[in-house]
């Protein structure tokens, strides 16, 4: 009981309350603009379409808590899809094709790690480079065509339901989010991620193996992208090298809306999941309301800027609240953070 009370108490001033409110408000608005919004089928649509983002954004949350960045996920998504589609369409058994997607994602994740950790390139530039490399690779592999002729069981994962009720993509997304949440909150590795994001030099001096941690983070980001590729490719039923353009944007918006600060050191998976849902609800709601698709771009762009501004304002507010009330015993001057 005490732990529940501490849990609830800690939620006050929790940036996620704001995010949850936003989601609720959006749901309310859209349920009024379209009668088809608040249906079970549509609920499944929204959560299913957010599953790809959730899978990747969960991994990217850790990267961003550690003050890293991965802009390459959209392209890595595409190249992983086409690799597995190409193999599947030429007779490779499906499990092997899936494995190939994971391997491709991992490979590009390690490429990012090599640039960032090995060559000390800044994450923005490094992952921007990988973004182009991967996209080019996707087009080369498919000769710019969209791969079809996939086996009949290809679409099972993306369009099927577990026990006939819950779509597989949602199950996969939930498992991935759970995995990263456990990693972040219950392991030493997770604590190290927060520590490095909070003060990399201090973490290093305290004995954290910082390079190894970054390698693991970028590798996991790539791996998660490969997994998302399996799910997405299966849903689309084709190997399209054009997919995922702008996907990294959706991922980053989800992470930031979820409360992860660009300054690093803070963030939670639950927030990211909410952020992904907000993005999905926004798209879905605008669609159902008959708004032109391009307005969705505008809406997402505005959402990102608003999220960053809110993050900065609440961060200043939170930090000043922390340093304004230091604990000092009688006879001892309080010296906040000096």
């Amino acid at each position: 009981m005490a732990s529940v009370r501490t849990f609830v108490a800690r939620q006050r001033g929790n940036p996620m309350i704001a995010t949850l409110m936003v989601l609720v408000v959006l749901v309310v608005i859209f349920s009024m603009t379209s009668s088809r919004f608040l249906t079970w089928e549509n609920f499944l649509n929204v959560t299913r379409s957010s599953s790809t983002v959730i899978i990747v954004a969960s991994a990217v949350t850790l990267v961003m808590i550690a003050r890293g960045l991965d802009l390459s996920v959209g392209s890595v998504l595409a190249v992983s899809v086409v690799v597995s589609a190409k193999l599947a369409s030429t007779g490779t058994p499906l499990p092997m094709a899936y494995l190939a997607a994971l391997a491709t994602g991992l490979a590009f994740g390690l490429l990012n790690a090599a640039f960032i950790v090995g060559l000390r390139v800044s994450p923005i530039i490094a992952t921007l480079g990988t973004l182009n490399i991967a996209r080019g690779a996707a087009f080369l592999i498919t000769s710019s065509a969209i791969l079809v002729g996939l086996p009949s069981n290809w679409a099972d994962l993306g369009t099927g339901y577990m026990f006939g009720v819950v779509p597989y993509p949602i199950i996969v997304a939930a498992l991935v989010a759970l995995f990263f949440s456990v990693l972040l909150n219950y392991t030493v590795f997770g604590r190290n991620v927060y520590a490095v994001g909070g003060n990399e030099e201090a973490a290093r001096i305290a004995g954290v193996n910082v390079p190894r941690m970054y390698i693991a983070l970028y590798a996991m980001s790539g791996l998660a992208t490969g997994l998302a590729a399996i799910v997405l490719g299966s849903r689309l039923g084709a190997g399209d090298p054009n997919i995922g353009v702008g996907f990294e944007f959706d991922v980053i918006v989800a992470v930031i809306l979820g409360g992860t600060s660009l300054a690093g050191g803070e963030g939670r998976i639950s927030g990211t999941v909410l952020g992904a849902l907000i993005v999905a609800v926004l798209s879905n709601g605008l669609n159902l309301a008959g708004v032109e698709p391009f307005w969705q771009y505008v809406a997402k762009g505005v959402a990102l800027v608003v999220a960053v501004v809110i993050d900065r304002i609440t961060r200043v507010e939170r930090e000043s609240r922390q340093t304004r009330a230091p604990v000092a015993a009688p006879g001892q001057t309080a010296d906040p953070g000096a």
């Binding site: 030493v188 927060y194 001096i205 001892q332």
Partner: protein
Amino acid sequence: MTDTSSALGAPSTAAEPLIAINGISKRFPGVQALDDVSIDIRAGEVHCWIGENGAGKSTLIKVLAGIVAPETGTISMEGYPVSIRTPNDALRLGMAFILQELTVVESLSVAENITLGHEARRGPFFNVPAARERAAKLMESVGFGHVDVKARVGSLTKAEQQGVMIARALSLDARAIFMDEATAALDEAEVKRLFDVIRRLITTGRSVVFVSHRLEEVLHLADHVTVFKDGRVAASVRNRDISAKDLIRWMVGREIASAFPPRTRTPGEVVLEARKISTRSIQGVSLTARRGEIVGLGGLVGSGRSEVLRALYGLDPVHEGEIIVSGRRVAMPSIRRAMTSRIALVPEDRRSQGIIAKRSVEENTTISWAQLGQGRAWRGESKRIALRMIDELGIRTRGPQQSVATLSGGNQQKVLVGRCLALEPGILLLDEPTRGVDVGAKAEIYQLIDDLARRGMAVILVTSELPELLGLADRILVMREGRLVGELAGGAREEEVIAVAMGQRESLDVA
């Protein structure tokens, strides 16, 4: 404008001083950096400022440079009160500052650096030939005429870069030039040339304020010497008939507070031995540390004390020499190796190198411990360790989950000590453990350090506060310019430490 008839100890009384500093005080949290300081800086003179670490010289320079605002006092130039609120004000009043961290733009040329901010123009364009001509003339006048004004400043030697800064000061029509530790990176020939330049500068009626730790230089160069101590002016005299001994006596000579635990420990066997270790910043340093012993590293700022600790902990790469822990050689010192050899470090700057502000007391305390492969029940153990440290070290906090940013400096320092203790180290390296900590917490930390040594730890302590060094350490190893130059027993006097630190005297047993 130089006065030639003043007696020792009486200030010269020519026309109005170029700069008159009157009653300047400045307080930082926990320390009175300047206390009613009054100094006259006269034109056409070399005025040397000298004093220990933290005596107030640098703070006063920052006040004159418009970087720090004093609480009381006035500054006048040639009799007229002036207000210096920003570096720009200082610039416009004709003051130039050449500090130890040279502020040249390495990617630009000599001519561009000299005229930066007040470039010669032809319409909207940069008048290159005019700039070059002016730069060449100025470099000639400061004795660096051989330097190509088109050369990239980054490619010049430190001495030449300094010449560029002096030329720039002249270009800005500076009347008073402040040099802080200008000779630190120069060799003998370059120092001689710098002194010639300085003497040439003062013949034009300018003033040069020269801050230095090198007593010989001060006695050689100065027309007037001001000695700082504990934020006050201990002496301000003409450079006539004064000796190094006088300077040292003015610099120290205070009572040592007995806030220190009595030394009743007997050191045991040697646990740490460093043999002629060299890094980028230190050369051939050898030392030993025993169980139950507190070894102090003394010396001036920049002498390499922290760098010795960094080398022992594996933070800086060690080119030469060996580190031996409990009889076993540590190959390729790294942070990981240090931790497994049971060496722990409390770093110098707790804000940038120690504390992870956003995280809790618990996380900050157990982060190092957590790296050493824990079992499945690690989170419970982590909480227990944090609670134990809070209790044992007397960390004042609402609980282990409190954010460490809200703790006072002294308590944050205790958290860092707790982080080390959780590793159960045999060797504890402390770098400025009471910096920015108030008096009450200081006493607690002193007791803590003594207790730890009593428990069998070997402690190596770096502190810029001489009383602290002398009060805690059993032995004091004195560093100077990257080398170990002397060893003194714990009961030494402050004057002895300063003397060895400044190269005035070699003590008999060099470690």
